[in-house]
């Protein structure tokens, strides 16, 4: 169990000239529910597809559950993947989907899948094409879970769902986490959802990982500092500036704290997850923020 859920070293993926993912090195321990956030085109889907073994890296390496993704049938069976558009066959009945899944997977929990569909009030005779968005998402998740995967990858699973369907989908996902040992990585734009269900965060911006870690630790280790703007006065010691905003008088910083703020004249506030994510996403703010810290170096 010591191997990581996902471990990458210098991972990169290039589509022709453009790098969709570049120089990613991180390690996600097992047993977490990981939220993957970032602007559109930041590389979230690329990262998930690499982890699922649907893409091969252009640079560096990725290990999933200690092995190369999609190396063999046994590795594939350990990983479940729910792609963005809930890949289902419209003309095929729910029963057909379950039989297909059973046929393709050595381990298949048909009983649990049927129980779940009954709970959702879905008749197995219905065709997938006739289902609502929420039902399609639930079916796609049910199929992925019936594989009994050790790692479940979900690409924007709730993006197209209404609030009620979203809540039910995430509720089902969390009941799975409560029931057995499974690691989950899901990408989402909705920080409020991530805040509820995830305990680990990865922020991807411009094809690179900006920050990764346990959410509780990230929230405890970041602060908002508000102080007067004074020429030549840098950010306090022990604080790494992530984002900075200035008016002619005031400075507002979002910092990563490696120790307490000892200087006076700063008001210190805790930060919520949404502001933390936004601080890492705002690239302009980050570059501007480099200035004061470098000036501060003696």
């Amino acid at each position: 169990m010591s191997e990581a859920a996902i471990e990458t070293v210098g991972l990169g993926k290039r589509y022709q000239r453009r790098w969709a993912l570049e120089d990613c090195t991180f390690r996600i321990p097992r047993g977490h529910v990981v939220g993957l956030v970032g602007p559109n085109g930041a590389g979230k889907s690329t990262l998930l597809n690499l982890a699922a073994g649907l893409l091969a890296p252009s640079a560096g390496s990725i290990k999933v559950l200690g092995e190369q993704p999609a190396r063999d049938a046994a590795q594939l069976a350990r990983v479940g993947f729910v792609p963005q558009d809930a890949a289902l066959y419209g003309w095929l009945s729910i029963e057909g989907h379950l039989r297909l899944g059973e046929h393709c997977n050595p381990q298949w929990d048909a009983k649990a899948a049927h129980a779940r569909l009954a709970e959702l009030g879905l008749s197995t005779r219905q065709r997938a094409g006739k289902l609502s968005g929420g039902q399609r998402a639930q079916l796609s998740l049910t199929i992925a879970l019936a594989k009994c995967p050790e790692l479940l990858l979900l690409d924007e699973p709730v993006a197209s769902l209404d609030p009620l369907a979203r809540r039910e989908f995430l509720g089902l996902l969390m009941s799975t986490v409560a029931g057995r040992d499974v690691s989950i990585v899901l990408s989402s734009h909705l920080v409020s959802d991530i805040e509820r269900v995830c305990d680990y965060l990865i922020v991807l911006v411009d094809s690179r990982v900006r920050v990764a870690g346990e959410i509780e630790e990230l929230l405890a280790g970041h602060h908002r500092l508000i102080g007067l703007r004074q020429p030549g006065v840098a950010a306090p010691a022990n604080q790494t500036v992530i984002a900075a905003r200035e008016t002619d008088r005031q400075r507002m910083l979002v910092v990563r704290s490696d120790g307490p703020v000892v200087e006076t004249g700063w008001e210190i506030e805790s930060i919520n997850l949404e502001d933390l994510v936004l601080a890492y996403m705002g690239e302009g703010a980050a570059r501007q923020a480099q200035l004061p810290t470098t000036q501060a170096a003696p």
Binding site: G171, L173, S175, R196, V197, D199
Partner: protein, 129 residues
């Protein structure tokens, strides 16, 4: 039985919100000794939160002596809000009141008092951790 909810805008950590809701239910008598709390699985399915959040809340309540976990069965209320807890709060509150009087006498307004408390609380936590 208690029905949990989560207020995303409150800024209070989710596990603490659950703790507060149990404490309040105890105070109001909605939960009594012997009552079972919903299982972790029930809570996470219903309000779609990470199981660890519920575990953490239940651990905290256990730590306070309000509930006890019975292996394989569930988590049960052991005490209605204990008089002991209230008894320890009284002198601490008294000290705080005296401190507030001194802070006001020194000319601090509400906001400054709050800011001072928060800063001190936070830097003390750094030292403690």
């Amino acid at each position: 039985m208690i029905e949990f909810y989560l207020d995303a805008k409150s800024g209070v950590a989710p596990y603490l919100q659950l703790v507060h809701q149990v404490r309040r239910a105890l105070k109001l008598g909605a939960l009594r000794a012997g009552d079972q709390l919903p299982t972790v699985r029930e809570v996470v399915t219903r309000i779609a939160i990470n199981p660890n959040t519920v575990f953490k809340a239940y651990r905290e309540l256990e730590h306070e002596g309000l509930v006890a976990a019975r292996a394989g069965v569930g988590t049960f209320v052991t005490a209605t809000t204990s008089d002991d807890v209230i008894a320890t709060l009284v002198p601490i509150r008294h000290d705080l009141e005296q401190w507030l009087v001194r802070a006001r006498a020194a000319g601090l307004d509400e906001d400054s008092i709050e800011a001072l408390f928060r800063d001190t609380f936070r830097s003390e936590r750094y030292v403690a951790s």
